[in-house]
Amino acid sequence: MTDPTPDAPRTTSRSVGGDLVFRATVTAAAAIVPLLMAALFIQLALGAWPTIKEFGLRFLYTSTWDPVAEIYGAAPMILGTLVSSIVALLIAIPLSLGVAIFLTEFAPQRLRGPIATMVELLAAIPSVVYGLWGIFVLIPVLRTLVVPVLSAVLGWTPFFSGNFQGNSMLAAGIILSIMILPYISSVAREVIRAVPDSQREAALALGATRWEAVWSAVLPYCSGGILGAIVLGLGRALGETMAVTMVIGNRHDIGVSLLEPGYSMAAAIANEFAEAASTLHLSALAEIGLVLFVITVLVNSFARLLVWRVTRKFGAT
């Protein structure tokens, strides 16, 4: 790659001096971010050190969480975070891609802006409001309308067996899906809009319908970026705290059924941090934070990489 701002030709001392100061300032500002990330990581790792030393990898796969006996295993929270996020993705992917495709390819020009803005406003609603909505609207609706049908149709699978207890993995997954929808759909919209019209025209000129052109030419062209949008949504779901804490049930146990309550990493930290008295309990929460931090950083970097690769491809053509 060539440097887009070669500075060799600038020779007057004034501009060189100005450049240096400016460059030093912005470099310092930019350097703060990775430094903060590193500091956060080190802080968490130091805080988590007692439990890392005490339990080693067992912390990640055992499920006893007993502050009295000072035994800590975080498997239910780790699993709960992953399962609720995956449920959220399963619901949010078709919805948000549908929204993105509708807005870029099919909606009348006049409607595109308003609808897109409305969808993006979903991201502006505070998390705690989603939580309240979950308690007062979603859970009653699930109880009276949705779960009876789910139990009747899918009750034979372990995932929908047992009694619905209101606060549950299912409720958390659904709330999360609505919360990540604007993120996935807005990135997907950018990515789809960046597909050159010549690709659409190629498909249409061969006899494709509008929908076939989207499905067989536009989406494959930007599949990497779409995947990036989805992974970005996943990263968002993994770390969401407040709304999930309010509806997931906060139970230290591994249950297979989505109708049962569960726990998540973020919820555990939020719930227990104020009450944690012993060093080891605090350390266990710090280690959960560390695990969450590492997972979300990895997931988000992966997503950015995917989106970046796609947008760079468009830049070249």
């Binding site: 000129a205 494709a208 076939e212």
Partner: protein
């Protein structure tokens, strides 16, 4: 009045596309006005004229690609065979299947060479999967690309050179076995050798296809086109056999354009 074909020519040729008093607007901007023209079947017809005179607009009107442009408006009619392309009964996807189009910029899909060529037949259910291999090979041979890619049909079409990509796009259009082939400056990105191959190809193909080609290369039009239409500022100025257009045009503007004394 714009130049018309003599009735004698009309009698001996069947008409593939007839354009009747056709005008087209991009919003308020008139791009074509009152064009009358009959494109003979199984011949090569060239559209020439300075940039912005409406050649692409007319070409894209024939297979209704201009539908996609917001604020487009037209008047008059275009018929393929005997059917108006604007008839509400007409199925545009079927029309576009029957009319192949090759764009000015090569636009292969980021799929394998094979899948690029097989795209149309698969989409339109034109042949069984077992016949697909033969069909793809035939299209690639017709487009004079087979020998260069036969050993790497599973590499991406987007990895070919510009000229190969353009021939891939021609093969992709041919695999649909259209009746009419519309080419918008297909050689503008090609070197002389690739250009020559495509010209030979078009001359061969005209026994089976009706071909319309937009070109800025006047020698090319003179070499391969049976008939040539000269457009200027959205109007069809003169339309006649290429021989007449390039040796003894009737209109001053045409003469000025082909002799390079324009403007």
């Amino acid at each position: 009045m714009n130049s018309q074909e003599t009735p004698a020519i009309l009698d001996t040729e069947s008409v593939a596309v007839s354009v009747d008093q056709y005008s087209f607007w991009y919003g308020d901007n008139l791009a074509l006005s009152d064009v009358d023209l009959n494109i003979p079947s199984k011949q090569v017809t060239a559209f020439i004229g300075p940039s912005g005179c409406g050649k692409s607009t007319l070409l894209r009107s024939v297979n209704r690609m201009n539908d996609l442009i917001p604020g487009n408006r037209y008047a008059g009619d275009i018929a393929v065979g005997t059917q108006s392309v604007f008839s509400p009964k007409l199925d545009t996807t079927d029309l576009r299947r029957r009319i192949g189009m090759v764009f000015q910029q090569p636009n292969p899909f980021p799929k394998t060479i094979f899948d690029n060529v097989a795209y149309g037949p698969r989409l339109n259910g034109l042949c069984s999967p077992s016949e697909m291999v033969g069909r793809v090979e035939r299209a690639l041979r017709q487009a004079a690309l087979w020998d260069e890619v036969k050993d790497r049909l599973d590499t991406f079409g987007t990895e070919l050179s510009g000229g190969q990509q353009q021939r891939l796009c021609i093969a992709r259009a041919l695999a649909n076995e259209p009746e009419i082939l519309l080419l918008d400056e297909p050689c503008s990105a090609l070197d002389p050798i690739a250009t020559q191959r495509i010209e030979e190809l078009l001359v061969q193909l005209k026994s089976t296809y009706t071909i319309v080609i937009v070109t800025h290369n006047l020698q090319q039009a003179a070499r391969i086109a049976d008939k040539t239409a000269f457009f200027y500022l959205g109007k069809l100025i003169e339309y006649d056999s290429s021989e007449v257009i390039f040796t003894s045009p009737l209109r001053e503007d045409t003469e000025a354009y082909i002799t390079g004394r324009f403007g």
